[in-house]
């Protein structure tokens, strides 16, 4: 009974779920398929995924989707129109700008902040955590003390102080949020590294003469990735909220950029009579961060069955 006779058609369900994958590719695809099945059982997680895909789509085609210019308004005819006015689905703000168009273009700023913070903070946390966990000893002690110090700061307050010093602006806001977000990633990466630092496959690579640099980069880091991805996804909502808070205080993106938090701040003056100016961008923030939270929860349940249902 050879394997060739019993092996199912490639890419079929049986092939993916096979106990004895014949190639590395089959094993990887099979694992991905199992994770996807677990993930897609969760309806709320799928909703989150849909929201995030929607956000990506809107941001990518903002120029086509937005019915009006997000920065130049019609001051003469279209000031503070209520939602539902012909041509202005979500109404207009005090400068006659279409709120829907501003929200659509603002999605780019939101993505910009989230992606940039993740690109800066996640690798920093990963490097600090894996090096600290693998090296141990005084390297570990020093790196973890530094991590603890940053962990001790309340995020928003540290970001506020940093932006106050650096000067307002979206790039500085990104930098400030990144500085406050890496410590948890370092903690997670270190904890993961500690669990397999003394395992046999690491010893095997050491015996083959791999340098510590190579071991950390090629063997330790890839194994830390999945828990890190879950944590980063769960943090996205927090990053969006912090960025919006900074924008609301006038420290993030500067006018006339259609940043959602700053839009709420500018709508604050009209909140009693023209509630939609502030309400709409807040709803957008709520939906997007809810999407990231649902997606993150679903990913955690799918990638880490131990935690599922907790």
């Amino acid at each position: 009974m050879s394997i060739a006779e019993t092996s199912p058609k490639p890419y079929s369900r049986e092939w993916l779920l096979s106990d004895r994958p014949a190639s590395r590719k089959q094993a990887r695809l099979g694992r991905a398929y199992v994770i996807w099945r677990r993930f897609s059982e969760n309806r709320l997680a799928l909703l989150g995924l849909a929201i995030i895909i929607g956000l990506l789509f809107v941001a990518a085609f903002a120029n086509v989707l937005a019915p009006h210019d997000p920065v130049q308004g019609d001051l003469r005819n279209a000031r503070l129109l209520p939602p539902g006015t012909a041509g202005y689905l979500l109404g207009t703000d005090d400068q006659g700008r279409d709120i829907l168009s501003r929200l659509i273009h603002g999605s780019r700023l939101t993505l910009f902040v989230v992606v940039l913070v993740a690109i800066i903070a996640a690798p920093v946390g990963l490097i600090v955590g894996t090096v600290s966990g693998y090296a141990g000893g005084w390297v570990d002690a020093i790196l973890m003390r530094i991590t603890d110090i940053f962990l001790a700061f309340p995020k928003l307050v540290l970001a506020l102080a940093l932006v106050a010093a650096l000067g307002p602006g979206i790039e500085n806001a990104v930098l400030a949020i990144a500085v406050t977000s890496w410590p948890p990633y370092a903690r997670i990466a270190r904890a993961e590294t500690m669990t397999f630092r003394n395992s046999e496959f690491i010893a095997a690579v050491q015996l083959m003469g791999a340098s510590p640099f190579r071991i950390v980069l090629r063997h330790v880091m890839p194994l830390c990735l999945s828990s890190l991805i879950v944590r980063v996804t769960l943090d996205m909502a927090g990053i969006i909220l912090t960025a919006a808070g900074l924008g609301f205080l006038g420290l993030g993106a500067q006018p006339p950029l259609p940043e959602w938090g700053a839009m709420i701040a500018s709508g604050r003056r009209f909140i009693l009579d023209q509630w939609w100016v502030a309400a709409m961008p807040g709803a957008a923030i709520l939906i997007v961060s809810l999407g990231f939270n649902l997606l993150g929860d679903g990913l955690r349940d799918a990638l880490d069955p131990k935690e599922a249902g907790q």
Partner: protein, 355 residues
């Protein structure tokens, strides 16, 4: 026969004492390095990052010798480590410089506004715990039911909503439209002159002085921002309670209690919750620390005269001394609460005591 025994016990006692001393030492090192690190970060933000502080004071048109003299007076010509040493010494004695905005020492200002923040965060935590714990227990007991899903969604929205936006909307609804609560602020302007606070915690002061009308007015002011913060801590507390309770309910002692014939209510509220209470205390302490941070945006919306509003006001006026002073105080309280909750956990849970 007795001699070796006593020597064994004394040796064991000595070892226990030395392990206790070691953990105390480790704790002290943690506290000291964390606080030093906190100061190092704010020092870095205040001195190294921005443009020359001397120029910020005299302006860039001042002649060179004036700039030099200001630099001299501020100690900016000293090596960085000496500057840091002076900075730490001043911070330890509570000297964070003078606020440009109010012209008071920053510490005086903070001492004045901090009770308002503490009061708000306390009310928020009480609301969060009173509603969050039962909701979490309910979700765990009826796992997978509609009730569980509802609690989950309430929590998820709490994690996802921008607090300042929710604050604005609830203010429009409950103050402007329904007139159920008082306008932003801490106390009605009428009482501001007749009411003399003693401790700075107005609710306690009013109750102590039996000024019931003032107390009612204070309540109408604090209820909305307090509930808002309470909602955020509820989201966190209910989620953690659910997870702890699920853990406890799957333990064998619960099965034993059921087999003994105890009522389900008794098992849940007396046996399981009591064991879940130990980690819950830490969670509630952490959420309290989180609310101190959450108060920055909430106070801005509700014109609540606390530390958060003080920091944002100072920010608008580029008053760096006040901003950094506020940051240090919030950071220090944050660290303090974290360490306290850690200690509390260790004393409450016998399993975590050192071997």
């Amino acid at each position: 026969m007795t001699l070796p025994e006593t020597s064994v016990t004394t040796r064991r006692n000595r070892r226990r004492a030395s392990s206790f001393a070691k953990s105390v030492l480790r704790f002290a090192v943690t506290v000291v390095t964390t606080f030093l690190g906190l100061l190092a970060v704010t020092f870095f933000i205040g001195r190294v990052v921005p443009i020359d502080p001397a120029l910020a004071i005299v302006g860039d048109r001042a002649p060179n010798h004036v700039v030099e003299r200001v630099r001299e007076e501020l100690g900016l010509n000293l090596p960085l480590y000496q500057q840091f040493y002076i900075y730490v010494k001043q911070a330890l004695s509570g000297d964070f410089g003078t606020s440009v905005l109010t012209t008071n020492p920053v510490m005086t200002d903070i001492a004045r506004v901090f009770p308002a923040t503490i009061e708000l965060a306390t009310i928020g935590t009480i609301i969060g715990a009173v509603f969050g714990v039962p909701l979490g227990v309910l979700a765990a007991v009826k796992r997978g039911s509609i009730a569980d899903q509802i609690v989950r969604v309430i929590g998820l929205i709490g994690y996802s909503v921008p607090i300042f936006w929710l604050g604005l909307l609830t203010l429009v609804l409950f103050y402007a439209k329904l007139r159920w609560v008082a306008y932003p602020g801490r106390i009605d302007i009428v009482y501001e002159y007749t009411f003399t606070p003693i401790t700075g915690f107005f609710l306690i002061d009013a109750a102590w002085q039996r000024q019931w009308d003032v107390l009612w007015d204070l309540f109408r002011h604090i209820i909305l921002p307090g509930s808002l913060l309470g909602y955020f801590s509820l989201a966190y507390i209910s989620r953690m309670t659910r997870s702890f309770m699920l853990n406890e309910l799957s333990q064998e002692y619960v099965v034993a209690a059921r087999a003994k014939g105890l009522s389900e209510t008794r098992i849940i509220w007396f046996h399981a919750l009591r064991n879940a209470a130990v980690p819950l205390v830490t969670v509630i302490a952490l959420s309290y620390a989180g609310l101190l941070e959450g108060s920055v945006l909430t106070e801005t919306i509700f014109s609540w005269p606390g530390l958060g509003l003080y920091i944002t006001n100072s920010l608008q006026n580029a008053d760096m001394n006040a901003v950094l002073g506020g940051t240090i105080v919030i950071g220090a309280v944050f660290v303090g609460i974290n360490l306290l909750s850690d200690l509390l956990y260790r004393t409450l849970d016998p399993r975590t005591r050192s071997r």
